[in-house]
């Protein structure tokens, strides 16, 4: 127990005594993890928006009026039931002629000249949401086979598909960036801590000389790395959260694109980044120390050769 207290005390004293080097290490973690976390937030914003675009009506089938042109009464309901059973279809909504007129009035409320039309010319329609946007061609084809009832088929799927492709590319890029920046964070942290240890290599050699075991030497450095990684990661998460929240507030007026990221997402990934920062600090310390511990055992090179 006294050994544990001694080692923790050693780490804290060392953090205080080497404040400049410690600040450098914390800044290295902060900068690299901010970039990685920022890339991940951008990726999440893209994902949320892609999902939003994918939801909603994908295909609209405008229908011929019932009881006219050989369209029997009840044909709309029959078609709706039929379409609902297709496996490509998630849901089907029916908009009657009168509902279509209400919708028309709502859409063109500011353009009175357009409202001066015969409401009966507006067709009833089926609003179809697909299981996957990729099915739009086959659903369109199947609807067009129903020539007697279906007047015209309209779909926004092409545009959505293009947006989706673009979003997929951006998603991969964002994720790739986050991974690359995350890895470079580990390297940067490892190097900074290694420099810090290099500055104290004599200390390590003296500790080994009086019989300190590798773990006895290692633990204070690992604790230091852990604290540096944790503080740097916490600063990075806070900075990105602050930036993202302010940006989302500024972009509240946007209709097509949402900039906000949910609190739960931030909490989950923020915690993960804290763990990542702490681990990066510990791994960085271990990598940085291994060389000097080897040298001090008399099993390394005769003369340390720097980096």
């Amino acid at each position: 127990m006294s050994k544990v207290i001694f080692l923790i005390k050693e780490a804290l004293v060392s953090l205080r005594r080497n404040i400049l080097i410690v600040t450098g290490a914390v800044l290295a973690v902060f900068i690299s993890l901010s970039l990685a976390f920022g890339a991940l937030v951008v990726n999440e914003v893209l994902r949320v928006n892609t999902v939003a675009w994918q939801q909603g009506v994908h295909v609209i089938a405008f229908l011929n009026d019932e009881d006219q042109n050989q369209v029997p009464s009840g044909a709309h309901a029959t078609l709706q039931t039929q379409v609902e059973q297709w496996e490509e279809v998630l849901s089907v909504g029916y908009v009657s002629k009168s509902e279509a007129w209400l919708e028309f009035q709502e859409i063109f409320a500011n353009r009175e000249e357009l409202l001066d039309i015969d409401p009966t010319i507006l067709p009833a329609s089926l609003r179809i949401e697909l299981v996957d946007i990729a099915f739009h061609e086959s659903v369109r084809f199947r609807l067009e086979q129903q020539q007697q009832v279906v007047r015209q088929v309209a779909t926004a799927a092409d545009s959505i598909e293009q947006l989706q492709n673009l979003s997929n590319v951006l998603n991969v890029l964002g994720l790739g960036m986050a991974i690359v920046l995350g890895l470079s964070a580990v390297v940067l942290i490892a190097n900074t801590i290694r420099l810090a240890i290099y500055a104290r290599r004599d200390e390590v050699a003296i500790m080994k000389l009086v019989g300190a075991s590798n773990w006895f030497v290692r633990v204070p450095f690992l604790l230091e790395g852990l604290i540096e990684g944790l503080v740097g990661a916490a600063l990075a998460v806070f900075a990105v959260w602050l930036g993202s929240t302010n940006l989302a507030r500024a972009g509240e007026g946007f209709v097509l694109f949402r900039l906000d990221v949910s609190e739960q997402w931030f909490l989950r990934w923020g915690l993960l980044f804290l763990v990542f920062g702490a681990l990066a600090g510990v791994i960085g310390s271990m990598l940085g120390l291994s060389r000097y511990l080897r040298d001090a055992d008399g099993t390394g090179p005769d003369v340390p050769t720097g980096f």
Partner: protein
Amino acid sequence: MIRLENVTKVYDGGTVAANDVSLDIQKGEFVFLVGPSGSGKSTLIRLMLRDEPVTRGKIWVAGKDITTLPRWKIPYLRRSVGTVFQDYKLLPNKTVGENVGFALEVLGRPRSMISPQVDQVLDLVGLSEMGERYPRQLSGGEQQRVSVARAFVNRPPIMLCDEPTGNLDPKTSVGIMKLLDRINRTGTTVVMATHDHAIVDAMKRRVVALDGGRVVRDEESGRYERVTEEE
């Protein structure tokens, strides 16, 4: 206590620092390793401490073959061997008391035991008033006393000293030698590498002379001069 059997050490660059050295050092002996620079004195000290691996041969320290010692056991060897170096090797960020106490901290001794032991050994080396000072606030002689105190605080059966008086003036050197003599009289085996003629001649202890990595003379109550005559 220490036994070297046909020990050879060749460094990476091809330099032969120890060449077929065999040596037996009994418990409680005081042995000087003498010889010119590059004769292999420091290398022998480092080999006995497993600070360097041997190229060939065997070394036993306190009954253990340290040439085959696994890496994780090296700290245990070093805890039973006190070391004193020319450049003191003190931790600059620790006080005198903390430097001495560090050798006990690595053993996991409780704080209640460390403090009185540190006080006792600082008293022995005549630095009882300086426990709170940092190494930079001390003279060379005082720093070497701290180094001796750290080496002895654990009461090791063996002390290895590599040129402990190399950086000190003659008067201060005499003080350090008196200290090492006192420690030796408690039964601790002392092996000291030096090229200080006056000290070796005055102490009249066993002298092992080295030249080019070979033992060229091994005398009880020896003197330094014969080495120079042979050169």
